[in-house]
Structure formats: structure tokens, C-alpha cells
Amino acid sequence: MSTSDKEAPRTAPIQSATFTNPVNAEIRRAAATGIYDIRGGGAKRKVPHFDDLLFLGASISRYPLEGYRERCDTSVTLGTRFAKNPITLDIPITIAGMSFGALSAQAKEALGRGASAAGTSTTTGDGGMTPEERGHSTKLVYQYLPSRYGMNPDDLRRADAIEIVVGQGAKPGGGGMLLGQKISDRVAEMRTLPKGIDQRSACRHPDWTGPDDLEIKILELREITGWRVPIYVKVAGSRPYFDTALAVKAGADVVVLDGMQGGTAATQDVFIENVGLPTLACIRPAVRALQDLGMHREVQLVVSGGIRTGADVAKALALGADAVSIGTAALVALGDNDPKWEAEYQALGTTTGAYDDWHEGRDPAGITTQDPLLASRLDPIEGGRRLRNYLKVMTLEAQTIARACGHNHLHNLEPEDLCALTVEAAAMAQVPLAGTEWYPGKPGGGY
């Protein structure tokens, strides 16, 4: 063998873009265990999002408002269509439904405290209403879910609004699950199920199917609550135009629309990553449905799924939403995925920022757990303070942008304030690609 043979250049190792290392690792995991991956959180894949939009700001044709001096209001009223007592919030950012069971009682209390201090509402979840949560939430939305765990007319009448959950962005068409590790005595009792078993929540409501039934179900709930409180209908981002139109037809006061980045407590990874529409793609069709029915602003639209900053809030509102809702971000504000627990994340085989085994109940931050010792790591008073701070910052950020665009109320933000960085985002948000007057599907053609 000659020296030149030995040193002949070889093809460098090429990693497949299809069979990536994480993909292969998942194949090996599936082969070894025979069970699909269940996790918490929302879609982790990159999809077109609010980051792909920019605000234009004021210019010669539009003048800005003075920061700190000229008012920019933030309040929003939900449920003006039929309810005797609509809900008025100081800020257009609400806390989304997350179940007691998925979250500890302390975490639910912290969410109530933080939301109340910021002048907004919080929401129960699949597992019923806890006294802590009711007691610490000045405005509490009570979810009416397919499982009906803990459902009773007294809590229904104690609620400030009712949210009929048809779907969740993380799993449109899917039911819930709460694995045995998290079923403590209290959780089991609230759900009238044995302790320690895997609980599956149904994917469809037990006593209605379709929009005509939904209309009668809404009538019943209104009759039971004396037409006092608003009734929201929460749908996953799937067919937003039709779902919004049908919810309105069925008599909803408020439509809550949750895109695929929206978090969940526990669902199959394949479901989270492959079913549903990105939040960005949901808003315009929903707003169009409301406009076509002459109901925009009369039936309010609440958007959720991947809202993190005041910029996201401002963008959702500019596209036509009346308010937004946050789940994951609120948990992060309480301390979820905080680097201070890195050693413990490592011990669980994960790392800060990637921890999503919320269904296992071993959360180092003490939020998504029923273990009394872990749960005691979260001080509900301190947690509430952190959430309030975060909500205030988001509101200030959104106001900063609105003033820069010349608006004295967040609700005056409009699509004309926006442009898109990518063709995809331009198509979904129906705002022009940056530097052009064009977006795909623009009526009248464009260039």
C-alpha cells in the first residue's frame, strides 16, 4: 500500500437532514419501550409566529403619542353580548385554564394572586375549582370540559364566567390525560376516581355533539346561572373561520382560540407537533368570521398559544383579537425551567429550558406536581408577585408599541401597523411583506 493511498481524501461523514440524531434517538426509545412519548408544553418545532411580524411605527403620515405622558389605555370588557355581568379587565392579558392536578394547589393560588393583582382573570381547568383558587382570584373563569371532573352547579354559580372547552391548541381533537403519579388523594377525590390510576379525559363532551346541540347546552348553562355570567367557547386552532362562526351561532359571548404552540399538561408528542394551526394562522380567519357576521368586538376574541411578550400581545391585538391568554409564560414567570434547578434537571435526564415532563409530577420548580415536598418549593405569595410583575411588564411593552404607532388604546392597533418578514407570515397574517405592498392572497392581486 502506498502512502498516497492511505492519505486519499474521503467523503466527510454526512448527517441526514431526515434521519437526524434526535429522530433516531426517538426511534430507538420507541423500540426499547413500546410506548409513545408523552410530554407537557406546546409545539417545539419552528412555525411562523409573531416574531415574523414587525410594527411600522409612526412617520410623517401618523404621529406618535408621548410615552409616560399621553394616555394609552389597556382595559377590555368581555361578554357584552348576552351576559348581565360582563367582565372588565384592566389589561387584555388573561391567565389560561390549567388544571389543579396538572398544577399544584400552590401554583393555582399563585396564578390567582398574580392575575388579581394585575387586574385580570384566571381560569380553572380539567379537575374542578379549588377553594384556594376561587379565594385568591377576583375574576375566575370556570371551565366546562368533556370530563366534567368536579363539575357542580354551586361552583358554576360561583364563577365569573364559564368557558366551554371544545379543544386545545396543543391537541385539537384530543382528550386529556393525567398519569397515575400525579393522582393524589385530593386530586382523586375531586375527580371521583381511584387514586393512582392513569386518568383519561374524554375528547368529546358526553352530552352534546355539533353546533346545534352546543346552542342548547349554552342555553342550559345560562338558565342555571340566570344569564348573569359570560359564556366563552374555547376552540383549538384548526378550522378557525368555521369554528368561530359556529361558536357565535351557538350563542357564545367570547371565543377563545388556541394555536398549536399552546401548552398542555400532558399529551403525545406526535399530537403536539403535528396537529393544528400555528397561532399566527388562526387570527385573521377568526376575525373575518366575526366581521362577516357583524360580530367583531361584539363577540370578543381571545387568542392564545405562544404569547411571551408585550410585542406578541400588541401583534395579536393588531390582527383583531380583543385579548390574549397565557399558560406556559405564566408558569415560567412562577419559576418553571429556571436555571437554578439545573442540577435537578440533569438528574432527570434533561436541562433548563427543555424540561417538559410535566406529567411525571417530579417538577424541581414545584409547579407541575402533587408531591407535597416539591410543591412547597413554590411560595404562592412570591409567585403571585412575580406573575403580577411580568403581566405589568408585558402591558407596558404593548403600550410602548401602541404609542409609537400613535394609538391611545391597545385596541386601536390595526393590521395596517404591521408588516411581515417572511412570505409565509405575510400570507397567514395578511399583512404586506416588509418593504412591499403585497401579501399572498391579497384581494385585487398585488404585483
Binding site: 366534567r148 358554576l156 392513569d198 383519561r200 352530552d207 338558565e223
Partner: protein, 227 residues
């Protein structure tokens, strides 16, 4: 006896009147005339009063009932006594789908037949059906007793939790994880009590008992076909 005629009184006014009762005065007997298939008749009641509905109702009659004794002389639409907490609801005729869905307490008696999904997700209610019940009844039923004096349709008790099912006639098929179980003396005692309260002369010994095999309680890949 106080009367409310739905031919002349709006549904809202009728429910508001009944919901305002406390049972503390002498107005404890009410009669609803001309329901004519109205939905949400006598729902959300919370007092020990007696309400007789003369005729047929639509969806969700007696929904979320607490304490009241509600008697419908005709047939009822879907979701009668859904999520009932306590009290009794007696239907002289037939009931449509989802009778007693998610009910948490009290007694629901259907003198005729009940359609599909009777007792779906029941959470403590007792249901006695004098006639037959349709398919997928007691789906995901958690707690409580479902007594069927006639026959049961397909997939009875699918994905059942701890509810007890008693059927006197035939069962077309059992759902996933639902099996026949031994009838022990305590079950005969439960049956005897429920049959008596429901006004049925069926004998407890004529029934078979069905319940959960509890194999789907924790996820197991080898049971995947059953999920």
C-alpha cells in the same frame, strides 16, 4: 299546587321561579304545563320541592338538579338530569341519549327505554331504567349504579371505572375492559333497594352484574388495541 303554563310563561321566568324556591314555605308542589319539547326545563333547581312536568321535554330537563323531586309524565330529550347532584327525577316515558350523563348523586328513574350513552361518565348517580338501554351506555362511568330491567345495547360499560352495572335481560356486547362479575349479597341488597325506590317489581336475583376488569387503569402497550 302552583302551576306554571309554558304556553304563556317564558322559560326564563319558569326556571327563575323554581330556582328561587327554598322549600321553606308551603309552596313545595309545582306543576309545569305545556312544556311542548322545551329545552332546559326545571334545570338548576336547589330545594326540596316537587315538580311535575305534564308532557314531553327537549334537552337537559332537570339538568344539574339538587334536592328536588322532578316527575315528567311524558318522554324526555337528550341529557335528562345531566350532572344531577341529588334528589330524584322520574320519567314516565322514554329518554333520548345521554340520560343521567356525568350525574354525581340522586336517583334517575326511566319507566320506558333509554337511548344510547345512558349513564355516560356517571360519577355517583343511581339510574334505574325499566325498559332497555342503547349502545355505549355507561361509557367511562366512574361511580354509581346503573340498573337495567330490560336489555342493553352494544359496548356496554366501555372503559368503565368503578360504576356497577346490573342488567336483567340480554347484553348485546360488552365494551373494552367491561366484564361480568360475581353477584354478592351486598349487590343484591343495593339492587333490592334501588328497584323498590324505582317502583319496579323485578327481582334482584334475575340480574347479572358487570364491572371493570381494571386492565386499562394504567397504560400498557400490550393493551393498545383496547384503547
Amino acid at each position: 299546587m302552583q302551576q306554571i303554563d309554558l304556553a304563556t310563561t317564558p322559560l326564563r321566568e319558569m326556571n327563575e321561579t323554581l330556582q328561587a324556591q327554598t322549600g321553606a314555605d308551603n309552596q313545595t308542589a309545582w306543576e309545569i304545563l305545556n312544556p311542548r319539547g322545551s329545552h332546559a326545563v326545571a334545570c338548576g333547581l336547589d330545594a326540596p320541592i316537587e315538580v311535575t312536568v305534564r308532557g314531553h321535554t327537549g334537552y337537559y330537563c332537570a339538568g344539574m338538579n339538587k334536592q328536588a323531586a322532578i316527575h315528567v309524565t311524558g318522554s324526555v330529550g337528550p341529557g335528562v338530569a345531566e350532572n344531577m347532584m341529588s334528589g330524584t327525577v322520574v320519567i314516565d316515558g322514554d329518554a333520548s341519549q345521554y340520560a343521567g350523563a356525568t350525574g354525581r348523586g340522586g336517583l334517575l328513574v326511566i319507566k320506558g327505554n333509554a337511548s344510547s350513552r345512558c349513564g355516560i361518565s356517571m360519577k355517583g348517580i343511581d339510574i334505574v331504567v325499566h325498559g332497555n338501554i342503547g349502545h355505549m351506555s355507561a361509557f367511562m362511568a366512574q361511580v354509581g349504579n346503573l340498573v337495567v330491567c330490560g336489555d342493553a345495547g352494544e359496548a356496554l360499560g366501555d372503559s368503565l371505572y368503578e360504576a356497577r352495572l346490573f342488567v336483567r335481560g340480554s347484553v348485546k356486547s360488552l365494551g373494552s375492559d367491561c366484564i361480568e362479575k360475581e353477584m354478592r349479597p351486598e349487590h343484591l341488597a343495593i339492587l333490592a333497594d334501588l328497584l323498590e325506590r324505582a317502583g319496579s317489581d323485578a327481582k334482584p336475583e334475575e340480574f347479572r352484574r358487570y364491572g371493570s376488569a381494571r386492565k386499562l387503569y394504567t397504560f400498557d402497550i400490550d393493551n393498545a388495541a383496547a384503547y
